[in-house]
Symmetry: C2
Subunit: 243 residues, 2 copies
């Protein structure tokens, strides 16, 4: 097996509306799938309310522990949008109107014949040292400070920001995965499956129960960054289960 | 205003499959909405992988901070189901076959003419002192230890467990909410909205941008446990925005 470089990430979802159930999060699954596909391993997600102390504590815990921390939410124009200030507080840097972001907003609203109100200008407030992340949808930029990547909460805007920032990210060995569908309940195959995991300790094996055509079935998922090893574990598991 | 009793909760979602994006979580939004409706305030969510140390650390951080901790995932029959052991570790108690849970499983599989294999019996392993939570769907119970409520990850099973445990929970003052739809982008109303929040500091006010009939619009959400105060803040906000 070759030397692997492991790149990890956490995601911090910021917003009362997710915790109240009013808004159903659509970003966790999207970001998880995207990071997995580019070779970044999402290791933890947290959802916290629009409370500065909670955001700062989570940012500092997560940015220290993982290669990257992605955040969603709280970068709009209203008083409950406190992500930029919280990130500034977490890094111990000032937060003020960024000239580059202000120009982006003035160009965008100017082209529409709209005034740049104090609320709109609030979206140009960034922590000192931030790099801008383009927002081709609605102009107000995301930003990056250190290893923390701050994106919008609106899914369509988050997705373009993630696309913009992706080419700048370090990535590591992608975790390859193979799914083996089994038409038996997981409790029938669990013993053999567990024995197989013991035999291949470097291949992560998960078992996911589901209904297939109305009957209890199982998806077995094997994950490893080494394709040959993954194929070997898959073939021997299929043989063991007589598939 | 009357004296309020505030009951809080956190949710811990356990599972590699959520972090890899393979499975899209459906439980966070459901649990958030349910808890809000019964007067329990969900304050934090975490998603962690199937790694004992990570689960134990999250359980101990969250159970100390909130009235209740709910968990989903990791209570099935396979080797990657390590929630019961992790909860036992977090509480410093032993984990072994529970006679009540074993009887439930033997009755369920016996009625189907199926053998209780070691894998199936694994689902009766509970931390010492656990109370069972019924699972009318597939028998294998959830459980409660102290203020920690452990449920399945499969949404249909989680939902019946949550229904079963709900009558046993302390609940507090429900946070009432009113949504005011506004057909203007949030950046146009943000200044007035922010001034209104300053005037009613005890009413939590959030602003959520969206597209309505293809045009930028905003939902303003006011939340407070005192209905009269909420109605007052709503009426004066509508007047301020000329709605």
């Amino acid at each position: 097996m070759t030397e692997e470089r492991i790149v990890t990430a956490a995601l911090l979802v910021i917003g009362d509306e997710i915790l109240s159930g009013r808004t159903k999060d659509q970003n966790i699954g999207f970001i998880a799938e995207h990071l997995t596909s580019i070779g970044i391993r999402l290791q933890e997600v947290r959802v916290v309310p629009d409370v500065e102390g909670e955001i700062v504590a989570a940012v500092n815990a997560l940015r220290a522990k993982y290669t990257y921390l992605f955040t969603t939410g709280g970068i709009g124009p209203t008083h409950d949008d406190i992500t930029a200030d919280s990130i500034g507080m977490a890094f111990g840097v000032s937060v003020s109107i960024d000239a580059r972001a202000e120009r982006v907003l003035r160009d965008y609203y100017g082209a529409k014949g709209l005034e740049v109100t104090p609320a709109r200008l609030r979206m140009a407030r960034l922590p000192a040292g931030a790099e801008l992340i383009d927002n081709p949808v609605s102009a107000a930029p995301g930003f990056r400070v250190g290893n923390v990547i701050v994106m919008a909460g609106v899914p369509s805007i988050m997705q373009v920001m993630l696309a913009c920032v992706t080419p700048t990210l370090d990535t590591g060995a992608a975790l390859l995965s193979i799914t083996i569908p089994v038409d038996r309940p997981e409790s029938e195959i669990a013993d053999a499956f567990s024995a197989h995991q013991q035999r291949y300790r470097d291949v992560a094996m998960g078992s996911y129960p589901l209904l297939r055509n109305g009957r209890p079935a199982t998806d077995l998922v094997l994950r490893c960054s080494d394709l040959a090893r993954l194929n070997d574990a898959t073939a021997t598991l299929k043989a063991a289960l007589k598939l």
